[in-house]
């Protein structure tokens, strides 16, 4: 689906079924940036999993992850998987991250997930969460034949002290490229804490 500009109408024009489908339903369901799915954890969970997603027609989706881990450490690494694949070689990520002392460029390939930066865990200050915003191009497999491209920006902190805050951004590929029907946020160790929240939103072509 694509976004179709709504035309001007004249007095006594009839509001037709086609107008409803094109200008209201299709524009709102997949034309504009709109929420698709959302989960907020009320109990700890190993993953935050969205299954049976129907993303055909979306040009790009945003996955907003606001998370914290329960593992007995200051941080834990977060990742994203598609269609349940944890096969090494399915994912490649290049990312840049910095704190106040070191700026680093990292490449993880092959990998078992889109690698993000860390999020705070159990020994980080209370109520502090990390934030990742992923953008996934053509998630519905409308351009099959090449990998799916993912980019993200992220921020995380594990203490109220110098050098303990990070921001970063990355670019990744999911080598499969088939339509994404499942998105899973995973951690290297431990569970996601209560209050961890993921929102998926998407928009279509013009």
């Amino acid at each position: 689906m694509t976004y179709t500009a709504i035309p001007d109408a004249a007095t006594l024009d009839t509001f037709t079924e086609a107008m409803y489908q094109t200008y209201w339903r299709d524009n709102l369901n997949a034309g504009v940036l709109r929420p698709i799915a959302e989960t907020t954890l009320t109990a700890t969970a190993t993953t935050i999993d969205f299954q049976n997603l129907s993303l055909a027609g979306f040009r790009e989706i945003m996955v907003l992850l606001h998370g914290r881990g329960t593992t007995a450490a200051a941080t834990t690494n977060v990742g994203l998987r598609f269609n349940g694949s944890s096969t090494s070689g399915d994912y490649e990520t290049a990312y840049w991250t910095t704190n106040s002392t070191t700026k680093a460029t990292l490449l993880t390939a092959p990998d078992t997930r889109v690698k993000g930066i860390t999020i705070p865990a159990a020994s980080a200050p209370t109520s502090v969460f990390g934030l990742h915003m992923y953008w996934i191009t053509q998630p519905g497999g409308d351009d099959t034949g090449w990998p799916t491209h993912i980019s993200y920006i992220a921020g995380s902190k594990y203490a109220h002290s110098t050098g303990s805050q990070y921001c970063g951004f990355g670019a990744a590929s999911w080598m499969d490229g088939t339509p994404i029907t499942r998105i899973t946020a995973v951690l290297d160790t431990g569970d996601f804490a209560v209050g961890s929240r993921v929102l998926i939103a998407g928009a279509a072509d013009i």
Binding site: F15, E17, Y20, Q21, W24, R25, L28, N29, V32, L33, R34, P35, I36, A37, E38, L64, H66, R68, W96, T98, N99, S100, T101, T102, K103, S127, V128, F129, G130, L131, M133, I153, A154, G155, S156, K157, H160, S161, T162, G163, Q165, Y166, C167, G168, F169, G195, R197, L199, A201, A203
Partner: protein, 201 residues
């Protein structure tokens, strides 16, 4: 209110009140849409967005601005809920250099951009995009992220683009945003647009 995907309707179906309400909720509190838009007609010290609707999931603030102070560049500050206590943290990556990030700990505000000012290149404005996810939640400290450019003149070494992440050490819902500069007023023509997106049903 939230976004509930609109159903297929067939020829001859009636546009019911319930369907109208579903469309209204999707437009008003579902899809990304503008909440506020202001362009300064004259210089002004503070730009305030107050009484922010609490029924959305995500806010996106777009600012195109310039300072009026007699200097080449001024910093853009953000405060929420009129809090000027030392409870703002930030980490900023300068994408134009290999230097490590700039850090703010327990600052009195977030510093999210540098805008050209009176002695900067004429007509040059700075731009910044600030995301405030889950701003209405009260269960955790607020996290934000931003991207900006800093190009106060046509000197290549003054071309910067930055990415930043910030935290506010407070669990309160954000209902007000104040924008100020490190010196002087915002110049006329400075524009602020606030967008919002809701949750799915």
């Amino acid at each position: 209110m939230s976004f509930d995907a609109l159903p297929f309707k067939d020829y001859g179906d009636t546009l019911t009140e319930a369907l109208w309400d579903q469309v209204a909720a999707a437009v008003n509190y579902g899809a990304m849409r503008p909440l506020a838009d202001s362009t300064l007609g004259s210089s002004q010290t503070t730009i305030t967005l107050s009484s922010i609707d609490q029924d959305f999931a995500v806010l996106l603030l777009l600012i195109t601005g310039r300072g009026a102070a007699a200097t080449s560049q001024v910093n853009l500050y953000v405060n929420v809920n009129q809090d000027t206590g030392n409870r703002y943290d930030a980490e900023v990556m300068n994408l134009s250099s290999s230097a490590a990030g700039a850090e703010d700990l327990a600052a009195a505000k977030w510093t999210i951009a540098g805008f050209p000012a009176a002695t900067g290149t004429t007509n040059r404005f700075g731009a910044v995009k600030l995301w405030l996810p889950f701003y209405a939640d009260t269960g955790f400290h607020k996290s934000v992220m931003w991207q900006n450019n800093r190009m106060r003149d046509n000197t290549a070494t003054n071309f910067l683009t930055q990415f930043g992440a910030g935290w506010w050490r407070d669990t309160s819902a954000i209902s007000r945003i104040d924008l100020t500069l490190s010196s002087g007023d915002f110049a006329a023509g400075t524009r602020v647009t606030l967008h919002a997106m809701g949750s799915p049903a």
